[in-house]
């Protein structure tokens, strides 16, 4: 859009979304950690719980 000195065109073959992979990898780790915490500590630690 804006004419910038650094502007270039990246075609399909030339672009690997490594930055996206890094971000989504971080997100993955956050999700796993938050899930384990929320399930095993917040939930199972919030007893008594319905068992029947």
């Amino acid at each position: 859009m804006s004419a910038d000195n650094d502007t270039k065109e990246l075609g399909h073959e030339e672009f690997d979304p490594i930055g996206t992979l890094v971000l989504i990898g971080i997100y993955f780790l956050i999700l796993v950690g938050m899930w384990i915490f929320t399930y095993f500590i917040e939930f199972l630690g919030n007893g008594p719980t319905v068992i029947g």
Binding site: D16, L21, I24, G47, T49, V50
Partner: protein
């Protein structure tokens, strides 16, 4: 179809998360023994609850050595009994129904939480180990006085329990 390698990696990661979530919940059910509210409480004629042999008199009743049944009626805007007393080290089955609209029955600070639907009996079994005083609140909007709807659940030391229900 052309999927970039990185997105394939993420697809596998996403599916692993999904399977992991399902597996955790399954562990909770099969391993930790958490059971869902279901249809085992049966249905009831919501217009004739007071004639029912169990709900006619909402109360705590001992049914085994450390086993208790509690019959609870939820209505606009109270629980009956409004104070439930059970001893520690007991297994308590709550039977909860409504005579008017949908309510919620939640023992605050615990996972004891169920919907209360007129015409249905919510049956949930819980083990109480330690003595403690809990609040009960209605967490499903039930009308103008919904925010005033509360009760108590007192788990008393065994030697203090005298069979009283309110």
């Amino acid at each position: 179809m052309n999927i970039h390698t990185y997105e394939k990696i993420w697809l596998i990661g996403a599916l692993a998360l999904i399977v992991g979530f399902i597996a955790t919940v399954t562990y909770g059910a099969a391993g930790a023994g958490v059971a869902m509210v279901d249809a085992s409480g049966g249905t009831i004629d919501a217009n004739a609850v007071t004639d029912d042999e169990d709900f006619g008199e909402p109360r705590v009743e001992q049914v085994g050595e450390n086993e208790y049944d509690v019959y609870v009626i939820a209505q606009q805007f109270i629980f009956r009994p409004d104070t439930i007393v059970v001893p520690a080290n007991s297994t308590v089955t709550f039977h909860v129904t409504s005579i008017d609209v949908i309510h919620g029955f939640q023992v605050v600070g615990t996972n004891v939480n169920t919907m209360v639907v007129p015409g249905q009996v919510a049956e949930i079994t819980v083990e109480f180990d330690e003595p403690k005083e809990y609040g009960i609140l209605c967490n499903e909007y039930c009308g103008q006085g919904h925010h005033d709807m509360e009760g108590k659940l007192n788990v008393v030391p065994e030697d203090e329990y005298g069979g009283e229900s309110e």
